[in-house]
Structure formats: structure tokens, C-alpha cells
């Protein structure tokens, strides 16, 4: 990608303009912005379907007066547009009576983030990226003739994030990442099955593009001629990757301090420091993982990021908080403020990490004579207020050394019960969605609905 964008943005100039607007009204402020260069190549079977290059700017601005906050956002970094954005934030202050002021960051010391940016990846041309996507496609279609239309994509992101506030804090960092993915469909007479695979890195050399395609194809082939399981209770293994990762993301949402404070989570403030889960289970939020694309040296309020222990051997240790909700709940400030593009300051995980256990996946499967392995979970079906879930699942039934593919079934239960009943954790960590690293885990008894 040619250098055409980042150099134009003068973050210090933006800071000075906003500071001058705010000084006139004697209000405090903070802002968080980013510039993003992105490219995406999408293959549909052997043909290039779509190729996208983009440049994007965004700035979220918050003004603070007394105990009130007003926010707005813009995509235009000209002085006029920023002034307009500032005025909208002030108007919003006047229409809001939400008292959600925490405290502003000051004199923070940020970790060096240079390992998270690889300058070299920008030397690749669009044509180079098209070839990488072609490699994925060939990898998938070359596995077997039953593999039919395939989507392969290569995306890269190059971001520059910046922050400033009226306490004089200013910071920025650069990061990049690359994502390769493949969706394969296998067709054999009347049976159709699909699967996908993905790989993430900060350097093109660290991705085996052909392997991404091959993995998706092999997974799809393994699921051909799937049957519907009988409706009853089974021991269930949630496999490392999509299945286990989805459940961890749901659980982490319940640990959001905002949801806890507003009563939207089935977890409560006094749940902290209690053993709610299996002692086999620990969970961390780690903003400094090289593998994770949620990594950042500071949060949305400019506080230096920290690794947070959410669960340690079954004990709920911390919630995800920003400056306001830590104060409101009187619990530790874990620095997880996050701006979304719609101008709302929220709380979010960075990268979730569930440590591996000691049991190999093969031994996990042998723990019970009959066990269902869930490979992926689909669709809606989570209730955060009760913790109940009921989700479409795709996987296998393992019995007597035989592995039969399953489809069109659901797994249902309660998320707190599920994590309190984890019997064993696998030694097979896998990355899911670029933000969750999780091993497989075994739960002895869950309701499966099929035929």
C-alpha cells in the first residue's frame, strides 16, 4: 500500500484545536482517534470476487463539566469539522443528565508498542495479496474434488491510534495485523457440509496460506454425511477455537462492570472473590499479547493498559471496568474503557486468555465412553440476565473409537453452571477471532436437542 494517508494527520494540531475550543467554555475533555489503512482481497472459487483498499479516520470526543459528560464523533479532521464535533458534544452535555464521569488519566507511563508494528508488510502490492488469496483457494480446492465453491480472503489492517485529554496527556501508537481465512463447502450427493479456518499474524511471512485453505477443506470433508443426535444429556467437549472461544466471550460479557452495575448481567458485585467456577478454570484479559489484535498500550480513557486476572482457579477475581464503573462499584479499576464508532464509551475485553490444562485432546475424548465434541456454535441464544444459553452446534459423536459427524442440534444450559462443571482442560490452545486464546474443555453433563 502506498503511503498516502497517515502523514496527513497531525495529532498534535488536533489536540491544540480541541484544547482551544474547550478553554473557551471551561470544560474538560478527552478524545480518542484512529487512522486506519486496510486492504482486503476476496476470492470466490478460482475467481477474484472483490478487492478493497481503504483509508479511514475517526475521532470520538468527550467533554466533561461537573459530573456530566457529553460525547460526539467525526470522520473529518479539519478544524471546522472538529469545532462542529466539539459543539455537538457540548449540546449533548446539555441534553444528558447521565452522571457518568469517572476521572481523567494523568502522567501515565505506557509500554513500548513497537513489536506490534511491522513496517515491512506495507511493501506488498495488491497483486501480491491476490496471489496469497489464490494460494488459500488452491490449498482448499486441491484437497478433494468434493470441495465446491470456496471463499478465501486476505485482509490487512494498519492503524495509528491517538489520545489526548485536558490534563495534558497525549499518546499514540501504531499497530498492524493480517488475517487469512477460508470458507469451504463439501458436497457429496445429497450431503453438504461447510467449514472455515483462519490464521492471524503481524507479518505475511508468519502465515501459511495454503494450510489455511487445506484446513477448511479437511474440516468440511470430515463433516459430510452428518446425522442428527438423539435428544438427551451427554458429556460435551467444547473444542479449542470457535466453540470454546464463543463461550469465553459470552462469559466475559457478563464480567463487564457496566453490565454488573446496571443489573444486565447474571453476575453481581458481591460475586467477586467467590469460587463460582471449576478450579480447573482461569481466565485473563491480556492487552500485551502479540497474537491478539485487541492489544493496546492504553485504554479508551488513556490509562496505561494492564493484564487483568478475571478468574483464578475458579475464583472470580475482577471485573472489566473503566474509571466511572470502578468508582461506582467500588472495585479495582482494570482500565478497559473502549470507544465504539457510534460515539459511546463502553467497556471491552482486549485479548482473552484461558490457560491450557495438561490433558491431550485425545485423552479428553477417552474420559467418557460416549461424548459429543462441539466444533462450533452458531447464532443468537444467550441470555445475559439469567446466564441461560441455547445455541445451534456443529460437531461429532465419539463412541467406541468411532467419530460420527453431527448437525442440526442444539446445546443448552446455564453459563455459570457450565464453567463450574468443567472437569478437564485440554493442552491444545488455539486462537479464535484474533482475540481469544483457548484450549478445549470437557463438561460432563449438558442437554443436547436433536431428534
Amino acid at each position: 500500500m502506498t503511503k498516502f494517508f497517515m502523514e496527513q494527520v497531525k495529532t498534535h494540531q488536533i489536540y491544540e484545536w480541541i484544547k482551544s475550543f474547550a478553554q473557551k467554555d471551561s470544560v474538560d475533555f478527552d478524545f480518542h482517534g484512529f487512522c486506519l489503512e486496510q486492504s482486503k482481497v476476496l476470492f470466490e472459487k478460482q475467481d477474484l470476487k472483490n478487492c478493497t483498499c481503504s483509508e479511514l479516520k475517526h475521532l470520538n470526543l468527550r467533554v466533561l463539566k461537573g459530573d456530566r459528560a457529553g460525547t460526539s464523533y467525526t470522520k473529518d479532521f479539519s478544524k471546522k469539522s472538529l469545532e462542529d464535533c466539539y459543539q455537538r458534544a457540548v449540546d449533548s452535555l446539555n441534553f444528558s443528565d447521565k452522571k457518568e464521569r469517572g476521572f481523567l488519566s494523568k502522567n501515565e507511563s505506557y509500554k513500548d508498542f513497537s513489536p506490534f508494528y511491522d513496517e515491512g508488510f506495507k511493501n506488498l502490492t495488491i497483486e501480491d495479496k491476490i496471489k496469497k488469496a489464490e494460494e488459500i483457494t488452491k490449498g482448499s480446492l486441491g484437497i478433494d474434488k468434493r470441495i465446491q465453491p470456496v471463499y478465501s480472503s486476505v485482509k490487512d489492517f494498519n492503524t495509528e491510534n491517538f489520545f489526548g485529554n485536558s490534563e495534558g496527556s497525549q499518546s499514540f501508537y501504531k499497530a498492524n495485523y493480517i488475517m487469512a481465512s477460508c470458507y469451504s463447502l463439501a458436497i457429496q450427493e445429497n450431503s453438504r457440509s461447510e467449514s472455515d479456518s483462519e490464521s492471524f499474524a503481524r507479518n505475511y511471512d508468519n502465515i501459511d496460506f495454503k494450510k489455511v485453505g487445506q484446513e477448511a477443506a479437511l474440516k468440511a470433508l470430515n463433516k459430510l454425511n452428518a446425522i442428527v443426535p438423539e435428544t438427551k444429556r451427554y458429556p460435551v467437549i467444547f473444542k479449542a477455537g470457535p466453540a470454546a472461544g464463543e463461550l469465553l466471550l459470552f462469559l466475559a460479557n457478563l464480567m463487564n462492570g457496566k453490565a454488573v452495575f446496571e443489573g444486565a448481567s447474571c453476575l453481581k458485585k458481591d460475586s467477586l472473590s467467590n469460587r463460582l467456577f471449576s478450579k480447573e478454570f482461569s481466565l485473563y484479559d491480556d492487552p500485551f499479547s502479540l497474537w491478539g489484535f485487541g492489544s493496546s498500550p492504553f485504554d479508551g480513557e488513556g490509562f496505561a493498559s494492564e493484564k487483568t486476572t478475571l478468574v483464578e482457579k475458579g475464583v472470580l477475581e475482577n471485573y472489566l471496568t473503566d474509571s466511572f464503573f470502578s468508582k461506582a462499584l467500588k472495585i479495582p479499576h482494570t482500565r478497559k474503557a473502549f470507544w465504539n464508532e457510534g460515539g459511546s464509551l463502553n467497556i471491552s475485553t482486549t485479548n482473552l486468555l484461558m490457560p491450557e490444562g495438561k490433558t491431550s485432546f485425545e485423552y479428553l475424548v477417552k474420559e467418557f465412553p460416549k461424548v459429543i465434541i462441539i466444533d462450533s456454535l452458531k447464532g443468537a441464544g444467550y441470555n445475559p440476565t439469567s446466564g441461560d444459553f441455547s445455541k445451534e452446534a456443529i460437531g461429532f459423536l465419539c463412541e467406541g473409537g468411532e467419530k460420527t459427524p453431527l448437525h442440526q442440534f442444539t446445546v443448552s444450559g446455564n453459563i455459570k453452571d457450565l464453567f463450574s462443571n468443567i472437569l478437564k482442560v485440554g493442552a491444545d490452545n488455539e486462537i479464535y477471532a484474533g482475540r481469544v486464546k483457548t484450549p478445549s474443555f470437557l463438561v460432563p453433563d449438558l442437554m443436547i436437542a436433536g431428534k
Partner: protein, 462 residues
């Protein structure tokens, strides 16, 4: 105009100079205003988004770039970055040296300003009313207005300007008793020039949200297994949207990805099923005067008495499949090239009353309100969550159950629709797919599916 005609002409000419067979510029300005009420406190956020997407076709290949800068220099730079390194293709077309002349002169109407004080007072009054029930512990109310200006120009000389105001209102209620907590939610949405605060409609929406939360508080865990299932009117239509609609978009039909590929003119559903995708319905959330390629919207018959009649096609989809374009090209915003997408999709009214549908069922499930769902177009397997439900015992509605989900296969489910009610209702939603999130409506009268897998925590039929 968001971009002057001369700039459009120059950029399109530059696109064609790179060997493209077609060039399109989509510009958008989006003013959003969101009033939220949580924990009885109001929060108001407004912001402005703007950007441009440029699309080039090289035969069936599509190149796309987008930027937040609307000036000519930035647009040409973005275009250059897109084609940099890409080899010139064999199918170059001779270039026209004649500047494009766009016939349309269009000024966007001024944004209709809403009375924020009035809206704030209304939300506060409604919040107070909804919290009047001692079991309701929390209410979240959001009122969202979007005023979107769109300008689309292409190398065929077409220029379209459109204004798309959207209004949506969402309530979520949490009910609590004896340490147990459940939630309910309800959404309304509309589009059109004259959006107003219909206080009665919004109050009803809030009360329905409370009712679902309170019903779930008393509900037992849903049973698991195969049952006859009545899927209620309104948002129940998400079943057709997910299970069938996505498979009828040329996005998945073009490469024979969909289970509906090559089935035009064939029987794909029970004879009692007729279904449409209609972008022309006045004021509905999925209605569009023009699609995102600038074509007028249409009413498209998808299934007539069980026979597949049409697919939904955008320009590229039509080019690849030779099916007719249906004014269905849609995208979330300038960050996405358009693809074929649904608008207002519904199963048409049949003849049975709800009572008549229920009375023949010995043991089944009435899925009263539905949540979100998803589908795999390659297999046709779908799922969606049921946010409130009741058991059916011996031809009558019985106790409430909670936490159910439904899974099945689109073609299989269509063939198992055995009764279609007469009471058609539409409901708004947001649909996420390859070109992002777009506002849609789904709809149907109550329908009976003779057998469907219900996911729940409890085994058995008692």
C-alpha cells in the same frame, strides 16, 4: 450535492482509464442522533459520518476503495492506491474521451430537526410508567434517528441522489423476583420523510417489552426435542428471512453456493407458501426508493404457491447469473460495496386463524416472540432464539417456557409448513451479511411447522 458533477466525471474517467469496464462512486453523509435512557438517566449522542466508496469492475472482478475525504485529489489518490500493482486486464475497453454529463440537478432537503426536549420528557415519562411494576428492576430505552444523504454516479452516466431518514425505538426490560432475573425486549422502526413521535405506538412497545420479561420470570425451562411449532406473526418472519431469504440472494446463488441454486421454477416449499421481498412498502424499515446502485426499488415475488419464482439480484449478481436486477443492491455504508440483500421480506397471508392452527396440536410449542438467528447458505441450516414461548397441550395454549432455540434446514422447513394464518404482520430488524448491516423488515402471519428441533434445557414432553 455531496460531490460536484465535474469531480464525479473526472474520477470516473480516471477509473475507466485504468482499464475498468464500469466505475461507480457512492458518497454518503450520515447524521445520527441517539437518545438513551438507562437507570432513569438520559444520555444523548449525535455525530456525523461521511465517506465515499469507489467501485471498479474488471469483467466479473470487483475492486473497491473508500475514504473519508470527498475532494478530488483524495478520491484520485484512493483510486490510484487501489489499482497500484494490479496488472492491466486483457478485457480493456476503449476509453471514451467525452466527459460524462449527468442530467440530474439535485439539492438535498434540509434535515428535519426533532424536538429533543419533547423526546426527552416523553422517554422519562415512559420510563417511570414501565418501572411502575414492582417486578421491573431495569429499563433501557433507546431512540435512534439517522438522516442519510446518498449520491450515486456511474460510468453509464446515471446520477442518483436520495435521502433516507430512519427512526428506531427499542426497549429492554429486566424483571427480577426472588433472585431470578429475566429480560424482554421490543423494537419498532420506520423510514420516510415525515417521522414523528407516535407516543401510543412507543408506549405499547414499552409495555410489550415488560410483558415478555414478566412472562419469562414465571416460565419454566423449555423442553428439548422435535415438536410441531407455531411461529408467531411479525418478527416470527425471521425464520423465512434466515432459512430461505439469504439463500435467494444472487450473492450465494451466483456460484451455486446456495441450496436454492438452479431451483427457479421448481417446487421448494409447501403449496400454502407465497413469499415476497418488497422494497416499496410505504414507511417500512426496509423500504428504499432507490437501491445502492441507484435503481428504483421493486416488489419481488420470491415464492408463489410453493414454486421458486425469482432471486434477488444486484448488478454484479445479475451479470454473473443472467437473472434480472431487482433493485436489491444494498450496503451498510460507504465502507462496503453493495450486494443483493433483502428489504421487506414476508410470507403472505393464508386462511387460518391462530385458534384453528392451535386446536389440532396435541403437544407442541408456540414461539411467541423471536430473537436473532443465522443461516449457513451453503447447507441451508439455520438457527434462531425464541425470546418468549408457550407450550401447546391438547389443542390449547399451556404454560410459558423460556430459553428455547429453533434449528432446522431451510428447504426442509419450507416443505413442512402445513398451515399459514390470515393475520399478516411486519416487524423491523437489522440484517448483517457480506455488505454489512442494513435495516429490513421481516413478516408473516402465524405459521405451523409440522416438526422442528427445539433446543431447551429440559427433556421430554411433559
Amino acid at each position: 450535492m455531496l460531490i460536484p458533477k465535474t469531480v464525479l466525471s473526472n474520477v470516473i474517467h480516471a477509473g475507466l482509464s485504468e482499464g475498468a469496464s464500469f466505475c461507480e462512486i457512492y458518497a454518503e453523509e450520515n447524521l445520527s442522533s441517539l437518545m438513551k435512557l438507562k437507570s432513569s438517566q438520559t444520555e444523548y449522542i449525535s455525530g456525523k459520518d461521511l465517506g465515499v466508496g469507489i467501485r471498479l469492475f474488471y469483467g466479473d472482478e470487483e475492486l473497491y476503495t473508500y475514504t473519508n475525504s470527498l475532494d478530488e485529489k483524495s478520491l484520485l489518490k484512493a483510486l490510484k492506491s487501489l489499482v497500484a500493482g494490479k496488472k492491466q486486464r486483457d478485457f480493456q475497453k476503449p476509453l471514451s474521451k467525452t466527459p460524462l454529463t449527468f442530467p440530474l440537478t439535485h439539492e438535498f432537503p434540509k434535515e428535519i430537526k426533532s424536538d429533543l426536549n419533547k423526546e426527552k420528557n416523553f422517554l422519562q415519562k415512559l420510563d417511570k410508567e414501565l418501572r411502575g411494576d414492582s417486578l421491573i428492576s431495569q429499563c433501557y430505552i433507546t431512540l435512534n434517528r439517522i438522516y442519510k444523504k446518498v449520491q450515486i454516479a456511474n460510468s453509464e452516466g446515471a446520477l442518483t441522489c436520495d435521502v433516507r431518514p430512519y427512526f428506531s425505538f427499542h426497549v429492554q426490560s429486566i424483571a427480577e423476583e426472588g433472585g431470578r432475573k429475566e429480560f424482554g425486549s421490543k423494537t419498532v422502526g420506520q423510514t420516510g420523510e415525515s417521522l414523528f413521535l407516535n407516543e401510543d405506538l412507543l408506549k405499547t412497545t414499552g409495555r410489550q417489552s415488560n410483558k415478555i420479561a414478566l412472562q419469562n420470570l414465571k416460565a419454566e425451562p423449555a423442553p428439548a426435542g422435535k415438536f410441531p411449532v407455531i411461529i408467531n406473526k411479525g418478527f416470527g418472519g425471521v425464520i423465512f428471512h434466515e432459512a430461505c431469504g439469504h439463500g435467494m440472494e444472487t450473492t450465494s446463488v451466483a456460484k451455486k453456493m446456495s441450496v436454492f441454486s438452479d431451483k427457479l421454477g421448481k417446487k421448494v416449499a409447501s403449496s400454502c407458501v407465497t413469499a415476497f421481498d418488497d422494497g416499496t412498502l410505504q414507511g417500512q424499515y426496509g423500504s428504499i426508493a432507490r437501491d445502492d446502485e441507484g435503481r428504483p426499488s421493486q416488489k419481488t415475488c420470491l415464492i408463489e404457491k410453493g414454486i421458486l419464482k425469482n432471486y434477488m439480484a444486484d448488478r454484479l449478481g445479475a451479470q454473473k447469473t443472467s437473472y434480472n436486477v431487482t433493485g436489491s443492491a444494498r450496503r451498510q455504508n460507504y465502507k462496503f460495496p453493495p450486494t443483493s440483500r433483502m428489504r421487506n421480506t414476508y410470507i403472505d397471508a393464508g386462511k387460518s386463524s391462530l385458534k384453528e392452527i392451535i386446536q389440532d396440536i396435541d403437544c407442541g410449542l408456540f414461539a411467541e416472540t423471536l430473537g436473532g438467528g443465522s443461516v449457513s447458505p451453503g447447507t441451508g441450516n439455520y438457527n434462531f432464539s425464541v425470546t418468549s414461548a408457550r407450550l401447546i397441550k391438547k389443542g390449547r395454549l399451556d404454560r410459558s417456557v423460556k430459553g428455547a432455540s429453533l434449528v432446522g434446514n431451510g428447504l426442509d422447513t419450507l416443505s413442512k409448513i402445513s398451515k399459514v394464518g390470515k393475520d399478516l404482520e411486519l416487524a423491523p430488524g437489522n440484517c448483517g451479511s457480506i455488505s454489512g448491516w442494513v435495516p429490513v423488515t421481516v413478516g408473516q402471519p402465524p405459521i405451523l411447522v409440522s416438526e422442528l428441533t427445539v433446543g431447551g434445557q429440559k427433556k421430554g414432553r411433559d
